[in-house]
């Protein structure tokens, strides 16, 4: 029996313990409430989230947020307790699933894009990240998966892939689609007996345009593409092959009423294809309007090569290849024209390729040589200078003029290196001439567009001069007029720097390009060389005589020395003398000669009397000799 005092103490103690327990419980409930409030806030965020969140134990789904319902189309009760495969899908890429599995086995995080399916069976692409959740003691019992529906992005990407049939810069079909269009046109051609024309075209001198800066090049290409598309018929396809090369498919052509003539490839193929010619002329016209660019207006021409199904080939590759061969021929023939394919062209194309390979080795094998052609002052018969002209000593074909290989040098960019070689060789042989006692006052070297456009151009020239032993390098650079007109500010700046090195600047082939004397006034030029085309027509075309006379007068007013190129007859020389041209160059004096032969020629020439010497003294009072 417990005594009452003990009993009382015990009741007091238990009451006190109860009150303490209640106080502890109350504070714990407050704690719990706070925790719950935070949890509710987070749960609210989870529920509002567009991103799906799945919590799994082992591989059973324990929790999903509403986004998962929206993404998968399954309701919560259809997912809870089920295998997570229901969401991840069984037709996902096997490799992705394996990667995922491996990461999870290693208790690491994993990311994958999987192909799954919604409840309604539609394709669902999900981007998911799975992270293990470790318990307090580091045991992984749950995984949190966040997933988003990337089906739209995926669809967009697929659309882009489909769109890869189109060139992004110009919006034209690309080569893939072109091949397909040709294929279809050929199928129709075979069925209906119609012809299909394939034109391959390349913008002339596009390298020079692109040298103004890639954005300008791109702009010009885009404009060119628009104009090409305008020029063709509705049934034709214009496509961009690569760079500045385009192709046009002209399906459903007739034989021009003369199938036999086409089939037997009579020379006059042009008149057999009036439809093709019509299209090409329109395209040429469309291109002709100068394109405005931030730097300058650019005039476009192009060279076309044409092949016609079925005569020039029965399949896409052959037809495209043959059209390309014809285009190269068109370029060789001076650009801005079109050529139909002929069997010889394949041969030429093969030749061209072997030419390219050989040219790449020509420098190291020392196969280039310089020939020299003198310039003579009309009034005195004095040799004023020589022009160095490059020749290629081809191991099989012998000595080749630049017309045979210059185009390839330019297209391959080899011209830069060969041009530098030319300057170095000319400077060296100039000093040999000095030793031979046959020193002409100046030696002229031709410059190509690519050389001038290079940023290191001035440095290259300076380097050549440094290497030559002479204080006066005696070098002139001849630059074609069209080349000078490109980016006139930059060109003028470079030329002035060159001039400061003691180098003279001559304008070559004057009259064939822009012929803008006002531009000329802005440039630091010393010599003007009138193109041979004007000289050869001098005696026969009165207009040309007037032009030459005007050029000479204007050049003199700008204090330039005038040289007539391509002088072949004494009659031409006499006329030029009368027009007060300063110097002549051409076969009348001599063809370009190798170094040793030039030395002999120069000796003989100096010993021969000059027919115009007397006339010079008669005109001496009025002749304006420009200072050099």
């Amino acid at each position: 029996m417990i005594d009452s005092a003990t009993w009382q103490q015990r009741i007091l103690r238990e009451t006190r313990a109860r009150k303490e327990a209640e106080a502890i419980l109350e504070s714990k409930s407050r704690e719990l409430y706070e925790t719950n409030r935070t949890l509710r806030l987070r749960e609210r965020a989870l529920e509002a989230s567009m991103i799906g969140v799945v919590i799994t134990t082992e591989d059973r789904i324990e929790y999903i947020n509403p986004a998962v319902e929206r993404i998968t189309g399954y309701a919560e009760d259809e997912l809870i307790g089920r295998d997570v495969q229901l969401i991840l899908g069984k037709h996902g890429d096997q490799r992705e699933l394996e990667t995922l599995g491996a990461a999870l086995r290693a208790k690491g995080e994993a990311q994958a894009v999987l192909r799954s399916a919604r409840k309604d069976g539609s394709v669902l692409w999900i981007d998911l990240r799975i992270a293990p959740v470790a318990s307090e003691i580091g045991e992984v019992t749950r995984y949190v998966t966040v997933l988003s529906d990337v089906s739209d992005a995926r669809r967009y990407q697929e659309q882009l892939e489909r769109q890869s049939n189109y060139d992004t810069l110009t919006g034209l079909p690309n080569k893939n689609l072109l091949m397909d269009r040709i294929e279809r046109a050929l199928a129709v051609g075979r069925r209906e007996g119609s012809l299909v024309g394939i034109a391959v075209l390349d913008l002339d001198h596009f390298k020079n345009i692109n040298a103004l800066g890639p954005p300008i090049g791109d702009h010009v290409l885009a404009v060119a593409a628009e104009r090409l598309a305008e020029g063709v018929r509705e049934t034709d396809t214009v496509a961009r092959l690569e760079g500045d090369a385009f192709a046009i498919v002209l399906p459903g052509l007739t034989d021009g009423g003369d199938a036999a003539r086409v089939a037997t490839r009579l020379p006059d193929r042009l008149s057999s294809h009036p439809e093709i010619i019509g299209v090409l002329r329109r395209v040429q016209q469309a291109l002709a309007t100068p394109v405005s660019t931030p730097r300058e207006d650019v005039a476009l021409t192009c060279s076309f090569g044409l092949s016609v199904f079925p005569h020039d080939g029965a399949d896409v590759e052959t037809l495209l290849g043959n059209a390309e061969a014809a285009m190269y021929r068109a370029k060789e023939l001076g650009r801005n024209n079109f050529q139909f394919y002929s069997a010889e062209m394949t041969e030429r194309t093969t030749e061209r390729l072997s030419l390219e390979v050989r040219l790449r080795h020509a420098l190291e094998r020392d196969e280039f040589v310089l020939h020299y052609q003198p310039k003579v002052e009309l009034s005195s018969g004095r040799i004023t200078g020589i022009e160095a002209l490059i020749r290629w000593n081809h191991p099989e074909r012998g000595l080749l003029p630049p017309s045979e290989f210059l185009l390839v040098l330019e297209e391959t960019g080899l011209i830069v290196e060969v041009g530098r070689w030319g300057m170095q060789r000319a400077a060296r042989e100039y000093s040999f001439l000095k030793e031979a006692g046959q020193l002409p006052p100046r030696i002229a070297v031709n410059l190509t567009p690519l050389q001038l456009q290079r940023d290191d151009f001035v440095a290259t020239v300076a380097n050549v001069i440094d290497q030559s032993s002479d204080a006066d390098p005696g070098i002139d650079l001849e630059i074609t007029e069209s080349l000078l007109m490109r980016d006139i500010e930059a060109t003028a700046r470079k030329l002035r720097e060159i001039q400061e090195l003691g180098i003279g600047i001559a304008i070559d082939d004057f009259g064939t390009g822009y012929s803008s004397l006002s531009y000329l006034a802005k440039l630091p030029v010393d010599v003007l060389k009138i193109d041979r085309a004007f000289i050869s027509a001098l005696a026969t075309q009165p207009d040309d005589t007037t032009i030459v006379s005007t050029i000479i007068k204007l050049a003199h007013s700008l204090e330039l020395t005038v040289v007539a190129e391509g002088v072949e007859t004494e009659h031409q020389a006499r006329l030029l003398h009368e027009l007060r041209c300063d110097e002549i160059q051409g076969y009348l004096l001599t063809r370009p000669l190798p170094f040793d032969k030039y030395v002999r020629w120069a000796k003989n020439f100096s010993a021969t009397p000059w027919p115009f010497t007397e006339k010079r003294s008669a005109n001496a009072a009025t002749h304006v000799l420009p200072s050099r």
């Binding site: 015990r10 238990e14 009451t15 109860r18 303490e20 327990a21 307090e136």
Partner: protein
Amino acid sequence: MKGVVFVEFLEMVEAKFSPEMLEEIIEEAQLPNGGAYTSVGTYDHREIYRLVTALSGAAQLPIAQLLRDFGAHLFPRLVASHQEIVRSKTTSALDFLLGIERHVHAEVRKLYPDAELPSIGARMHGPRKLIVEYSSTRALADLAHGLLFGCVAYFGEAITIERRDLDGEANAHTLFVLTRADGWIR
């Protein structure tokens, strides 16, 4: 120290001695709360010493023995109120003790983040021998000893317990070697 230990201790004193003895030692121990313990509270561990010391004086029994007896009494009581902690697949005392840090203490920490638990290192030494290393600033090796008795009794196994105090009388660092009798193949 968790209130449950005090509550169990008071109940044990009342049952094994008498209600009067309980009130006597509570008064003798001069506890801050007058012995009004609740199992959800947390109290200064030194109070259990005061209680045991008071009991020792009143019952004329050594403190160490009282703590051991209390430990043996406490073990099945704790298991009874926390069945979820003793995992169903645990069928032997040695298994249970091997997993004590990993399972039991981990669960205790979940329930009572503020619990200050002793460090119990357990490792097998051969197939029949388990070494339990007790280490605690509370210096309650005797209580741990008693809990081990309780554990062995709970699983009903023939296991001997040897004790090696590593710090003399301090009771803060002790090794217990539990050896299972022959005939048990692990």
